[in-house]
């Protein structure tokens, strides 16, 4: 699992530019499903055929990042955010453009109060001294992802883009270990989740499944002076009750609960007060799709040091497999 996480998190795939990560995932699941297609928006859809219920599994493969908007005469690159980029998490970080160019992200020195920090007061330094030199490496509209190694320390994984490559890893591992089932399963690696659940929306419309389960990360309440939230790293995958985009269908909550009990893994409930996720778009698509989610507890979401527990990720795989097999309508 760690090797897979490392491979997935270290591949670039900023929302709207998911080619590279899509190809990596495609390689991982080749030959394990009956059909693999890429739709208009770029969602990667892998189908395991069957005569049973139609289930959609969604994990988004895009990640947050930045886009170059302006290059000044001295070669400094101004940028805009793609998805929810926090200015404070960005200070002193490295970003990597698709062609491999690395830049240092910092803020204007005359800023006397960090409280006033905005992304518009920040720039990317790619180590050149003219606009002309800069343009050889970075074009306006080029996107870059944050740089953040993937490391394992005991049971903990620290990396950039665990949101939601950890979810992608769960789905890939489930595909590779799926026992026989009559259910027809659509494994969808969605695009543009970070821009507003956009890939999941079009994917759900074309698939029109009987049920949808998403795998994504969720926030935790287990760090010093954190917001009150019951979810903790290492206490098992969380069954989503709600976030700002969805109140999960009671039947899906029940399915996930019963599956977790049956295979005897620890689980917790997620009541997320901020943020939305793919099932939010899926459940109101095409006349309504009962939807829910398995969430991986993750600290420091949307930073280059997202932190999750390996055992939670592994248990999420087991929970997903059991739920997919036991769903009968």
């Amino acid at each position: 699992m760690f090797d897979l996480l490392k491979k997935l998190t270290q591949t670039t795939g900023v929302s709207g530019n998911e080619e590279e990560i899509r190809n990596v995932i495609k390689e991982e699941i080749k030959g394990k499903v009956d059909q693999i297609t890429v739709d208009t928006l770029g969602n990667l859809i892998a189908v395991k055929k069957g005569n049973g219920k139609k289930i959609m599994v969604a994990a988004h493969m895009d990640e947050i990042g930045v886009m170059a908007t302006f290059i000044d005469d001295n070669g400094f690159v101004r940028f805009s955010s793609i998805g929810g980029v926090n200015q404070y998490n960005s200070i002193g970080q490295k970003v990597r453009f698709n062609n491999g160019t690395i830049g240092a992200l910092h803020y204007e020195q005359k800023l006397d109060d960090l409280k006033n920090l905005k992304l518009s007061k920040m720039y990317i330094d790619i180590g050149v001294d003219s606009k002309e030199e800069a343009l050889k490496l970075v074009g306006i509209g080029d996107v870059a992802c944050f740089v953040g190694d993937c490391v394992k320390q005991g049971n903990i994984i620290i990396s950039k883009a665990l949101d939601d490559r950890s979810g992608c890893a769960v789905v890939i591992d489930a595909i590779n270990n799926m026992p026989k089932t009559e259910n027809e399963i659509y494994y969808v690696f969605t695009v543009q989740e970070e821009l507003g659940l956009r890939g999941a929306k079009t994917a759900a419309y074309q698939i029109k499944p009987d049920l949808a389960i998403a795998v994504d990360v969720t926030l935790t309440g287990d760090t010093p002076n954190s917001h009150l939230m019951e979810v903790k790293c290492g206490k098992g995958p969380a069954i989503k009750i709600k976030d700002r985009s969805i109140i999960c269908h009671p039947k899906v909550k029940k399915l996930l609960e019963n599956s977790a009990k049956k295979i005897n893994i620890p689980y917790q409930y997620e009541v997320l007060e901020a943020g939305g996720s793919d099932p939010g778009a899926i459940h109101i698509s095409a006349g309504g799709v009962p939807s829910g989610a398995i969430s991986i507890p993750c600290r420091y979401v949307h930073s280059p040091v997202e932190t999750a527990c390996l055992t939670d990720i592994e248990n999420a795989v087991k929970l997903l497999i059991e739920s997919l097999c036991s769903f009968s309508g």
Partner: protein, 349 residues
Amino acid sequence: MDYISILKDISTYPGISGREEKLSKYIKRMFAKYCDETIIDQFYNVIGIKKGYGKINKKIMVTAHLDEIGFIVKGIDEKGFVSFSNIGGIDGKILLAQEVTIHGKKDIQGIIGAKPPHLLKPEESKKAVNIKDLSIDTGLSYNEVKECVEVGDFISFSAKPMVLKNNKFSSKSLDNRAGVAILIDIMERLDKLRYDWDVHFVATVQEEVGLRGAIIAAYNVCPDMAIVLDACHGDIPDVSKDSVYQLGKGPAIGIGPNLHTKLTKELIEYAKEENIPYQIDVEPGNTGTEAWAIQVSKTGVPTLLVSFPLKYMHTTVETVHLNDIKNAGKLISGFISTIGNEMGEISCC
């Protein structure tokens, strides 16, 4: 229709957004008395169909959401206090000293406490009340609470209804259970009228969290016209006059880009002809109602908005005037009976 008894009945029945199943079954039984067919969809929208007498196959959908605002359990502390998060828009100020019901393994009564004025520091009394700082006291110990309450359980207000003077009525969740009562009133009135189109009455779910039930229902019903029933703000002191409507002066008819120009005019004409009191609700953009979602469903739906003035919205003392409820039912049922076979494609103006 006996408005007071039906409003008392359905306004006190719990049905928080996302957990409407029981209420939906209850409403379905009420619809079944008047409808040719009654169904509950996968998301617990209740759909009652009354077949029209016309020869063409046209549908009008009339919606009122049945869900209500409430809370969800976020955590239980070591003393047994239950912390919570809101479902739908709730101002923390109204929560002090409220009675609630936690819908756990069984229903448990609780109260949201408040610091006595004697112990409030001067600066505290000036502060806003934040939901995250409040908790529910059930009287039970940590272990007792843990036995029947889990994170993710839903919580409803347990306020009692009250009949006020001059035909006014107060209760929790009249937004939009009064709308649901109007749906039933329209059904009853249509029993005595002739109408050509099929009428699909939908008591929708999850309006308070983003019009979600209406999005699903509009897609599945695929109507040729829709009328949305909801509450608008009643006149209260200290608010700007252009966003509130007088109680007792009749239902408000919405005008604006969210609503169909020609049909709106016809609805107003009908109200005038029949001497039904009405007010005009000017909506320059998003009406914040299900009309916003329904209008753009599939290839577009000509949509109308009728609302009844309601004071103290999203509190436990929401107040309506019974005449407005009655007149909304009269207006919409009568209008439906004027929609004839001859009405072909409905153009934009």
